[in-house]
Amino acid sequence: MRYSGVSYHGENIRPGIEGGKYMASNGIRDRVAIVGMGCTQFGERWDKSVNDLLVDATKDALASAGIELPMVDAFWLGTLFSGQSGLTLSRPLKIDYKPVSRLENYCATGSEAFRNACYAVASGAYDVAMAIGVEKLKDSGISGLPGLAAPSDGTKAPLTAPASFSLLAPAYSKKYGVEKDQLKEVMTRIAWKNHKNGALNPRAQFRKEVPKETIACSPLVAGSLGIFDCSGVSDGSAAAIVVRAEDAHRYTDRPLYVKALSFVAGPANGPMDPDYDYTTFQEVVVSAADAYAQAGIKDARAELAMAEVHDCFTPTELILMEDLGFSARGTAWKDVLAGTFDLEGELAVNPDGGLKSFGHPIGASGLRMLFECWLQLRGEAGKRQIASVGRGRSLALTHNLGGAPGECVSFVSVVGSQPSK
């Protein structure tokens, strides 16, 4: 049994951010492989229902794996708003009496479906599992995300998602002495980069480069966040077929091996604890450390070919560069301006355009990130193919979070095209 930190036997466990150290997280490195993936066009899909999106992504994934639907033994469906229970998937696909789990974990819902499907296969309970995520946001007729509120006492501050994440910007500015205008330039460059990448992606919601001036001058939504600092509200679906690693070559000669899966929910202390300073997601720090330990990664920036990260808003991507260990604390803003995370940079981040330009249909996003890893590590990304894959880098990371600064869930996966030696 491997612990992320030292054994907790006989020790007083200190609560708080040290708690993650005591998690027994053994991982399933190289025991599961992705053998097929599918992803629909994301965007304002007025032409497609939830059922259509599910059928389309499933068809793609099955075709990619070269199998028929009856060969899938079990299903995990991730969706936040677009349906409840396994019937949301079994009904449109006419699944014949198979286990179908429906789950949600905020914006990390798609990743959570993938994680559970992987464990099911790794356990030996099933041979072939499908993880699929879907979201239909554009049928609601409102801006942003619809409400999710359970009956309440009405005391929670009604902050929208952009407002919650906009709290990061002034806190980062203050802590690291980055002038407000300079930080806006950094945020703008992140949006500009992700739009530039998305312009090369036929499945993306926004497939156009956007000039920096347009981004910087876009109407304010919350704090210093303009409309171009926010991810696209989108419809879409993505799916993955997973099998045990030893079976992978029955389906494809280029499987992706699951190196690490880490998921943590934080104590949501940020809005309650004056020690939280809004310049980090501790949940991401813990889940990244866990994932790197599972995958045997020592230096993420040097070892990864690419990373798909949860750029729900531009300051989020900035801070993730530090939380994921790609940049030292307080320096990510310089790396962003230097182009470190560009498609041609030292470590490509969000080569598919990210949530920013690919769009963010909540339940689908985690699987959409894996879909880009699938294309890139197999050399199928076309115009946006990352050069370092050709030079032998074989690992990709996905990061997906849900919630708000100081109170979120975080998922980190590492997948690779090569089995461990």
Binding site: D153, G154, L167, P271
Partner: protein, 467 residues
């Protein structure tokens, strides 16, 4: 008999310049300003603010609460119970409304003086009128609270009633059918005809009972919804001209149910010991009280005098004023409608939602808002004791201006605030200029009506700059 043990007025932050009405409507609307309750205030929330200020630092807790307003937030349901909860009064203290008419204000105060127990009278009003009308122009919004009791060495009487008198009559001068946004009035001179003899009778009786001649009065307050009758009565009773109190028409406007109390609070803010104050309320009759101040007043006046509240304040545009009062129905954002608070969770969370009572961990001392069972710092389970933070100042740790969130008055300004002595909360800021907020600004909590959804008022706390 009870006297006044403490008092406080609450004048909302916003002012409408009457010139702005005239400019918008192309007509003359007079001079000065009127006080305007914000979009997140009503008579109940303003009553809480006045009540909090009146009870701050007073060791005698009221055993009953009387709430008077012409504009109650609810019918059927008692409004005083929300004030009672927000003031964290004990469950054994009765809380009742005296609502619907302007005269209920002086009625609540007299009932509190008559009560055989310490009693808090809260008088509150939000005056509206149809756009362009005199009530819109001359009305004002405010609340005032008086803690009445027999007094003791620790909490002495500040002013005691030495005489009172009433004259009651039935006549149709001003009225409003429930649900209507504005009241109606008979021809102006008729009101004067009805009020002046009633006032003369009651004032004469009051002065006789007190054994005082008009010239011996140090301050004369005449309040009531009929401005012309007020002026006639004040000018005709034979008091020294400099004793006639400013009726606040040019600053707050006429605050209806609260107005006689507001003017009394203003007088108490500056009165010397052993002075006589005549309060005349002309509302469906005439009610007269003659007060005598005590030596204790000088050291126990309201912390925020009426005059200092009038000196502050922010300008509100006429369009915004109309929007806040519901006369201008603006396009809402494309966002989900707010959900009404549900009754059972609100009931379970009464101490939190209304009293702003969090919890403190007895193991490590960490404060929690809202109250928790497991400590965020040391993770001790069920070692909490309740702790009310409604009167604890805080500092803005970070903030944002949310232009997407639903509000009657966008944008929403939200902040993460850290309380003196520990504890953090994320809440809305109010009475604030979004462009002026800074990290490090000091704020205090204020009780507000966040919004109304499906006929349910969502009362809770926001933070406002300490001014």
């Amino acid at each position: 008999m009870n006297g006044i043990l403490s008092y406080a007025a609450y004048v909302p932050f916003w002012r409408l310049d009457r010139k702005a009405i005239g400019d918008a409507l192309g007509a003359s609307a007079g001079k000065g300003t009127r006080a305007v309750a914000s979009h997140d205030e009503d008579t109940t929330s303003m009553g809480v603010e006045a009540g909090r200020a009146a009870l701050r630092g007073v060791t005698t807790g009221p055993e009953a609460l009387y709430f008077a307003t012409a504009v109650p937030g609810y019918l059927d349901k008692t409004n005083a119970t929300a004030i009672h909860a927000a003031l964290a009064l004990p469950g054994s203290a009765m809380a009742v409304d005296m609502v619907g008419s302007i005269r209920s204000g002086v009625g609540a105060l007299r009932a509190a003086l008559d009560a055989p127990r310490p009693t808090l009278a809260v008088l509150s009003d939000v005056r509206t009128g149809l756009p362009g009308g005199g009530d819109e122009r001359d009305g004002g919004d405010a609340a005032v609270a008086f803690l009445c009791g027999p007094g003791d060495a620790g909490v002495p009487v500040l002013a005691e009633p030495v005489a009172w008198a009433s004259a009651t009559a039935e006549f149709l001068e001003r009225w409003r059918v429930p649900g209507e946004p504005a009241s109606r009035q008979w021809e102006e001179r008729f009101g004067e005809h009805a009020y002046v003899p009633l006032a003369q009778a009651a004032i004469t009786e009051g002065l006789t009972r007190a054994g005082v001649a008009p010239g011996g009065l140090h301050r004369v307050i005449v309040a009531g919804p009929h401005g012309r009758a007020n002026k006639r009565v004040a000018g005709g009773l034979g008091a020294k001209p400099d004793a006639i109190a400013d009726d606040l028409a040019g600053s707050t406007g006429n605050t209806g149910t609260a107005h006689a109390g507001l003017m009394l609070a203003d007088a108490l803010d500056t009165a010397a010991p052993d002075q006589l104050i005549l309060v005349v309320s002309l509302a469906d009759g005439c009610d007269v009280t003659i007060w005598k101040t005590t030596a204790a007043l000088a050291s126990r006046r309201a912390a925020k005098p009426v005059s200092s509240q009038l000196a502050g304040g922010g300008k509100v545009s006429y369009a915004t004023f109309l929007t806040w009062r519901g006369f201008l129905d603006r396009e809402p954002p494309r966002r989900p409608d707010p959900e009404p608070p549900a009754a059972p969770p609100s009931f379970r969370a009464e101490d939190w939602k209304f009293g702003f009572t969090g919890s403190r961990c007895e193991a490590c001392g960490a404060r929690h808002l809202p109250p928790q069972r497991v400590c965020v710092k040391c993770h001790a389970i069920d070692r909490m004791k309740p702790e009310r933070l409604a009167d604890v100042p805080a500092t803005i740790a970070t903030f944002t201006v949310d232009r997407l969130a639903y509000s009657l008055s966008p944008p929403v300004v939200a902040a993460v605030i850290d309380f003196e002595g520990g504890g953090r909360y994320q809440c809305e800021l109010t009475d604030v200029d979004p462009a002026a907020v800074q990290i490090g600004d000091r704020v205090e909590m204020t009780f507000r009506r966040l919004y109304t959804a499906n006929g349910v008022h969502n009362y809770f706390w926001k933070a406002r700059p300490i001014r």
